[in-house]
Subunit: 145 residues, 2 copies
């Protein structure tokens, strides 16, 4: 199994970062504003849209803890994503809030995984920009690479 | 062992991307302009400086192939980096040149590794910006996170 792991520090209170990763409205501000549809509670399914009629990813929410933990199990979308697990673990630091992100359980270290790794870092910096300046770069405002 | 892997497509010819990752002058334009000291041939040692008197990393060049392959073995600097291997593998695509980057062989998936993963994605986007616009964001012009 292969994992993507990133750490980014955001100059914002933990409660604000939690809101941005735990709610559909929050996620829309930094990952995709084309559509984040579903609930925000454990057991809910969330569909993420990126300009196509079908969702690019479907996850089941597996953890929502206001102390700073959100986790999803990927149950639909890109074939390589199905079966992977995603987590946002937040912790206060002297510079704000540390976001430890994991997208774990990839079957193979493919070029698509490497692409997604760079994309996740880009969108975590979009999360940082959204919380620090009010403006993120969610799809379709994102840089394509 | 844990690996960082990123893939970024740069809208530039492979030869230009190769120059940017294979030469000390090229690397200065997107990773650190505080100091990239050493040779660019196999067996050379390169010291990378980030605002401190001691280098943050020292690598030995292990591969330089103008077909699009550069590799380094880390021999000094941050303790967690020593013994790791870095590689830039380039391939032409219809949108330019794909950069497949690996920083492989970490002993543990630490928070520092997760920090470095996000940092590498940021600097690969700096490489992209340098080659596409003429201006990258090497240290100390980089965003801190």
């Amino acid at each position: 199994m292969q994992d993507i792991r990133h750490r980014v520090v955001v100059d914002a209170p933990l409660a604000d970062v939690f809101e941005a990763v735990a709610t559909t409205e929050g996620i829309s501000a930094w990952w995709t504003r084309d559509g984040v549809r579903g609930g925000s509670t454990v057991g809910s399914r969330v569909h993420f849209f990126f300009g196509q009629p079908e969702p690019a990813a479907v996850v089941e929410v597996t953890r929502v803890d206001p102390d700073g933990h959100v986790a999803w199990a990927c149950v639909g979308g890109a074939d390589e994503w199905v079966g992977t697990e995603l987590a946002f673990d937040l912790a206060p630091t002297e510079d704000g809030t540390a976001v430890l992100f994991a997208h774990a359980g990839w079957r193979e270290p493919t070029e698509f995984m490497a692409h997604c790794s760079a994309r996740w870092a880009y969108f975590l910096l979009s999360l940082k920009a959204y919380l620090e300046t009010g403006t993120g770069t969610p799809f379709p405002d994102d840089l394509r690479f």
